[in-house]
């Protein structure tokens, strides 16, 4: 959020940091720092009216004020001049000595240059120096003060560290200043400042010190920059310095006392010098603090920064620059706005030097360690408190606003930002509106609350299918039924339709039309014969079968024919080419389904690619960190969620144990298991083949039986009619149960167990449909011995008066078969729900305590894979049947709609949570994958039929052939022939090899390209992960060294 707020107004001179994130972080951080300073200034009571001032003014006035204060300090300085100069003398003398060494000469000259070579008028520089010196002035005494009690026992390093906690600060009034000091001590213990100043330390003649000298110390340029940078830091921290002054003046008398001893200690031990110098450069406190924590495991990364963030986040947003470890870099780049560009350049390049030296330090300097975490925390807490008391919302907002307004922002940027914002708002609002309109969202929430998201995906899938069927319905009905039913001076039946010659259309030859007329007459007569004597009972039965009176309705293919309308506004008459419309509608329906499927599965693919290779890797994290749904708002749902999560986690753990068990299997066990698996698979295969044959047999026997029992009761006839459908439905109910039992012997992992059961069931379902199609194909397309092949139907008429019934319009016949299946598919689960599931629950509720059998049977579990398969099956039927029976999409739409409520009712009332819930993120893609398979399977017969089979001449929109051996696709061909010749050529190219070979080649090329790209990305991800791991290892290694060193020091 903070980042967002800042996006608009990044100061241009801060842009040199790496990338946008860096810039934003820098900026946010700058703001937070500003407010941090403000707080301190307020606390000191030095500055009263900052509200309206710009930052620069604040800086300046801050500096001026400090300069004034320096005047006050003069006396104190003079007073302690001697002692202080002692240190200074030392310092100078090292410098002199260092001049001799070529290595450090560069450094010193640069040091001097840093101070002297600046143009006089450079206010910034002056100020820098002021700060540096002022820091030194008042820090030095504080250091000495610290040393007073410590000087007694200055012999061990650890003693010094302990001293930090000693009550030596008791004489200071301000507890805050003590905190400052203590943090600073910690900083000084860190390796930070010492490294920078190591050349000076060389005077102590410690060989160890020399080692610390960073290799780049020859680089005077880098050093100079470093010093410059340091002076900026002094800038940034003047608030601290300021604060520290307070107590320094108070304690000046005590310091005088302690001075000598301090000096002694100073000379005796180089360690002390560290602290001295660290005070000297106390301007680093913030930065070094952060570095310290970063170097040592990052425990307290947040602590120092936290206060800034707190202040900042509550006002503008939360800036987590401290969390991503960029802060050290950012801090270095931050600087007062009025410093020249030269500074910024050197600043950034000094970064390199510093980071180099820091990396050195990391590995070498282990003398001091961050052992004061608790104290740091306390300090942070108190600082925070102080900050909170001091801050004033209006003031901050004002400052931020001023800052933001002052920034030069380009017009295009503003415009872009506004556009983006407006677009986002628009998107969100439409989303909100759509969300309100969303169908069943309340039901979803209810189900989700009780059964978790995995069951909810089933219902979501159902809704998706509902919409799919809706689109299919619109396409099919809109293109076929509606034009057919519209009554504008139309012929009432095909027999009445005008002769094509009269219409002026370019139909060739009347013979095809005559033929169609004759065939139709024959067919209608045949139908009338069947339906004449029907009573209401048999009419009702016909309704179930799609035969009799229903056969000649708009429900089925057979009724449609080309219509001619006289339109009121257009001269003459217009023929509606029903055949073309029919084909295009079918094509459009399949295309719509295809695109929706692809779109939906793309989502699944995206997420599955995301966690590919690590799909199992993050399952626990996913459950634990993403487990709780923050939307849950009622007590019951929350309880359910707890239970659900426990169950899931426990299930996963069991799963894992199972995995371990599998790994520990002995060879003997393995052999036994594999043999069992082979046997089970054979049995499964047997079942599959057996049931498929049964379907085939039932279908083939159907018509014979129909003939045989032609004169028995119509209900029996109906039952016979339903035989193939009942067979399929029964097999679909029984066989999956057997599969489910069988798979338990195979001892697979639960997830795999579910998948393989699903796979087998899918095979059964789709294969049974295919077998049905196959047997139908055999019946209507193949030549038969006993039948006359006429009017596009192979079973047009019986020859030898056999028992088999003729088929006068095979498309309608196929449509009837599918219609029956759909009716059954609708009725059976409905009946099962109310006859089996509901009573089962009642029985269980009443008797499960009394009868063991009932208890063993248990409650109905919601069987997700089976439920999904039912849906997929219905959809497959829909695709297969929509050509023969354009009404089918509407039927499946209604089915989906009713079933949603039935299923919801049974899930919420009759079922219990599945013991092993599906993985939510995977289940949807699995459903879609299954649906996709079924889509392709149903596409196959369709294209085959349209491309090769001749339509009936007795019925349907294609009954008037245009050529001998007419096929469905000829309609399209005829259409193209009516186009202008150029367009004809264009379409012709699509059918030639010249188009297909390059097209396939190009597709292959793109596929290959994307495959290679994907492999590359995967490899890169792997490398990055390895990097991450190595980084962690590095950290651990360093920590181990640190610990070793610590042990060594401790002795």
């Amino acid at each position: 959020m903070g980042t967002r707020a800042c996006q608009k107004c990044v100061p241009s001179q801060l842009r040199y940091s790496e990338g946008l994130q860096g810039v934003l972080d820098t900026y946010c951080f700058f703001y937070s720092r500003l407010c941090f300073k403000m707080a301190y200034q307020r606390q000191n009571g030095s500055y009263d009216n900052y509200g309206g001032q710009s930052v620069e003014e604040q800086y300046n006035s801050g500096f001026d004020d400090l300069n004034d204060r320096r005047g006050d300090r003069q006396s104190y300085r003079q007073f302690q001049n001697k002692s202080y100069d002692n240190g200074e003398d030392n310092f100078d003398s090292y410098q002199d000595r260092d001049f001799d060494s070529p290595r450090n000469g560069g450094y010193d000259s640069s040091w001097n240059r840093d101070f002297k070579s600046r143009p006089n008028g450079n206010l910034d520089y002056e100020r820098d120096r002021e700060f540096l010196t002022s820091d030194r002035d008042f820090l030095h005494p504080s250091g000495r003060d610290f040393d007073v009690p410590g000087s007694r026992d200055f012999h061990s390093e650890s003693q010094i560290n302990r001293d930090f906690e000693s009550p030596r600060y008791n004489d200071f009034d301000s507890p805050k200043s003590r905190d400052f000091d203590s943090t600073r001590h910690r900083d000084f213990d860190s390796t930070n400042t010492r490294d920078f100043d190591s050349p000076k330390r060389r005077d102590f003649d410690s060989p160890k010190r020399r080692d610390f000298d960073p290799p780049n110390s020859e680089n005077s340029h880098g050093r100079q920059k470093f010093h410059e940078e340091r002076s900026y830091r002094a800038h940034d921290n003047y608030a601290y310095s300021d604060n520290e002054e307070e107590y320094q003046t108070k304690i000046s008398s005590t310091q005088a006392r302690g001075h000598n001893s301090q000096q002694r200690a100073f000379n005796e031990k180089y360690r002390e010098d560290d602290q001295f110098e660290e005070r000297f450069y106390s301007g680093d406190s913030q930065n070094s603090d952060r570095e310290l924590t970063k170097n040592f495991g990052g425990r307290d990364r947040n602590s120092e920064n936290g206060s800034d963030d707190e202040t900042f986040s509550t006002r503008i947003g939360f800036d987590h620059s401290n969390l991503d470890g960029k802060d050290t870099v950012i801090v270095r780049k931050r600087k007062p706005t009025n410093i020249s560009d030269q500074h910024s350049e050197s600043d950034s390049s000094s970064l390199k030097a510093i980071s180099k030296s820091r990396s050195m330090r990391k590995s070498v300097n282990l003398n001091t360690l961050p052992s004061h975490e608790r104290r740091i925390k306390n300090f942070q807490a108190r600082k925070l408190e102080a900050l909170r008391d001091a801050k004033n919302l209006e003031e901050y907002t004002q400052i931020y606003r001023d800052e933001i307004l002052q920034e030069p922002v380009q017009r295009t940027q503003i415009w872009k930002y506004q556009q983006k914002k407006a677009w986002q708002n628009f998107k969100q609002q439409t989303k909100n509106v759509l969300y309100q309109l969303e169908l069943w969202s309340g039901a979803f929430k209810e189900i989700e609350g009780q059964f978790g998201t995995s069951v909810m995906t089933y219902f979501r899938f159902m809704r998706w299918l509902l919409f799919l069927n809706f689109y299919l319905m619109v396409v099919m009905l809109g293109l076929t039924m509606v034009p057919y039913v519209i009554k504008i001076n139309r012929p009432w039946s095909f027999l009445d339709s005008p002769h094509p010659n009269n219409t002026g259309s370019n139909f060739t030859g009347d013979d095809f039309f005559e033929k169609a007329l004759n065939c139709t007459k024959n067919y209608i007569g045949f139908l009338d014969n069947q339906t004449n004597s029907e009573d209401w009972g048999s009419k009702a039965l016909d309704t179930l079968q799609g035969t009799g009176w229903m056969e000649h309705t708009v429900l089925f293919y057979g009724t449609y024919f080309n219509k001619t309308y006289s339109l009121p506004l257009v001269e003459g008459r217009l023929t509606y080419n029903m055949g073309l419309s029919y084909l295009l509608a079918t094509g459009a329906a399949f295309l719509v389904s295809f695109f929706l499927l692809v779109k939906n599965s793309a989502k699944g693919v995206k997420s599955s690619v995301l966690d590919e290779g690590s799909g199992q890797m993050t399952q626990f994290c996913n459950k634990v960190f993403g487990g709780w749904d923050f939307c849950i708002s009622n007590q019951k749902a929350a309880k359910e969620k707890h239970k659900n999560l426990t169950q899931e986690l426990r299930g996963d753990l069991d799963n894992q144990k199972l995995l371990w068990k599998i790994e520990n299997r002995t060879t003997r066990e393995k052999a036994k298991l594999y043999s069992i698996r082979v046997v089970v698979n054979t049995v499964v295969l047997g079942f599959l083949v057996g049931s498929l044959y049964l379907i085939y047999y039932a279908n083939n026997k159907l018509i014979d039986l129909q003939r045989e029992f032609g004169d028995v009761h119509p209900i029996v006839q109906t039952l016979i009619q339903f035989m193939p459908s009942v067979t399929i439905t029964l097999l679909n109910i029984i066989v999956p149960i057997i599969f489910k039992k069988l798979v338990e012997f195979e001892d697979y992992m639960p997830a795999f167990q579910m998948q393989i059961t699903l796979l087998r069931t899918v095979i059964l379902r789709l294969a049974s449909l295919l077998v049905l199609m196959g047997s139908l194909y055999g019946m209507v397309v193949k030549d038969h011995d006993h039948f006359v092949d006429d009017c596009g139907n192979k079973r047009w008429q019986t020859i030898n008066n056999t028992s088999e019934a003729p088929i006068k319009c095979w498309e309608t016949y196929v449509g009837q078969q599918i219609y029956k299946l759909i009716i059954l598919d609708f009725l059976v689960p409905f009946v099962l729900t109310f006859i089996v599931e509901y009573p089962r629950r009642l029985v269980y509720q009443k008797f499960h305590e009394r009868f063991k059998v009932v208890n063993m049977m248990g409650q109905q579990e919601f069987d997700l894979p089976k439920a999904v398969l039912d849906l997929v099956y219905t959809q497959t039927l829909c695709w297969m049947g929509l050509f023969f029976c354009p009404f089918i999409p509407m039927m499946s739409l209604v089915k989906c709609f009713i079933f949603f409520y039935v299923k919801k009712g049974t899930v919420l009332n009759n079922c219990i949570q599945p013991v092993r819930p599906f993985r939510t993120s995977k289940s949807n893609s699995l459903f879609i994958a299954v649906l996709f398979i079924s889509f392709i399977i149903s596409c196959g017969p369709m294209t085959y039929m349209i491309g090769t089979i001749s339509p009936s001449q007795s019925c349907g929109p294609f009954r008037v052939y245009s050529v001998e051996n007419f096929i469905f696709f000829d309609t399209i061909r005829n259409l193209i022939f009516t186009f202008p010749s150029d367009a004809q050529k264009f379409f012709h190219i699509f059918g030639t090899m010249a188009f297909f070979i390059p097209a396939i080649g190009l597709t292959c090329f793109f596929m290959y390209y994307y495959c290679v790209q994907a492999v590359g990305y995967k490899r890169r991800a792997k490398l990055l992960k390895e990097d991450l791991i190595m980084e962690g290892k590095d950290k651990q290694f360093l920590l181990a060294r640190v610990n070793e060193a610590w042990m060594y020091i401790e002795g």
């Binding site: 959020m1 967002r4 707020a5 495991g297 990052g298 425990r299 307290d300 947040n302 707190e310 986040s313 509550t314 947003g317 939360f318 969390l323 991503d324 470890g325 925070l384 909170r388 606003r401 986002q424 708002n425 969100q428 609002q429 989303k431 998201t453 995301l610 690590s614 890797m617 993050t618 626990f620 994290c621 996913n622 459950k623 634990v624 960190f625 993403g626 487990g627 709780w628 749904d629 923050f630 939307c631 849950i632 708002s633 009622n634 007590q635 929350a638 309880k639 707890h642 239970k643 426990t646 986690l649 753990l653 894992q656 991450l1028 791991i1029 980084e1031 962690g1032 290892k1033 950290k1035 651990q1036």
Partner: protein, 184 residues
């Protein structure tokens, strides 16, 4: 809406809009929800500081196992008390429009119970305990679970998750973004 319209000046509203992921209308809606928590004191002062108990009257927070952490993290004072701005901040982070990285940051802070900037085994135990309801898993299961999580996410083997590690593992946890939100 008219009543609360006057509560904020246009300037304030547009500021809030800039700083959150909400539209002005939604900000007013958030304010309404804030108001329902304690109508009296908010009536008196729109920037009233409501204490933790009052904030937890929000139904989503009431049943949330991490509610105390949420209030602490979003409270500017760190003590669980929230002003309207804190509240707005919170709702903004939990809104659908907040990007994932923002959510991840706050989630990290919420799950970091001892506030030591790493999610240690202890934090994980606490998270799991709260997720499953107190003591639903036995010790052995708990240990195994924590071990599994660390195995998945702890890349540098220091037995705790740093923010980077957390972010990394969340980027692969598809359910997080869907679950870490509160509808207005």
């Amino acid at each position: 809406m008219g009543g609360s319209q006057s509560v904020f000046s246009e300037q304030e509203l547009s500021d809030y809009q800039e700083l959150t992921y909400f539209t002005k209308k939604e900000i007013l809606h958030v304010f309404k929800r804030f108001q329902t928590l304690d109508p009296d004191s908010v009536e008196r002062d729109k920037n009233a500081k409501l204490n933790r108990e009052t904030i937890l009257k929000l139904p989503e927070l009431q049943v949330n196992p991490f509610n105390d952490r949420i209030t602490t993290v979003f409270s500017s004072a760190g003590d669980g008390c929230m002003t309207f701005e804190d509240f707005l901040d919170m709702m903004s982070v939990f809104s659908d429009n907040a990007p994932k990285n923002v959510k991840v940051e706050y989630a990290f802070r919420i799950y970091d119970f001892d506030e030591d900037d790493v999610i240690s085994g202890k934090d994980l135990r606490e998270v799991i305990n709260r997720l499953t309801g107190e003591q639903a898993l036995n010790d052995e299961e708990m240990e195994q679970l924590i071990q599994n999580i660390l195995e998945e996410a702890d890349l540098d083997d220091d037995d705790s998750l740093s923010f980077a590690e957390f972010e990394h593992v969340i980027s692969k946890a598809p359910d997080f973004i869907n679950s870490f939100r509160i509808r207005l």
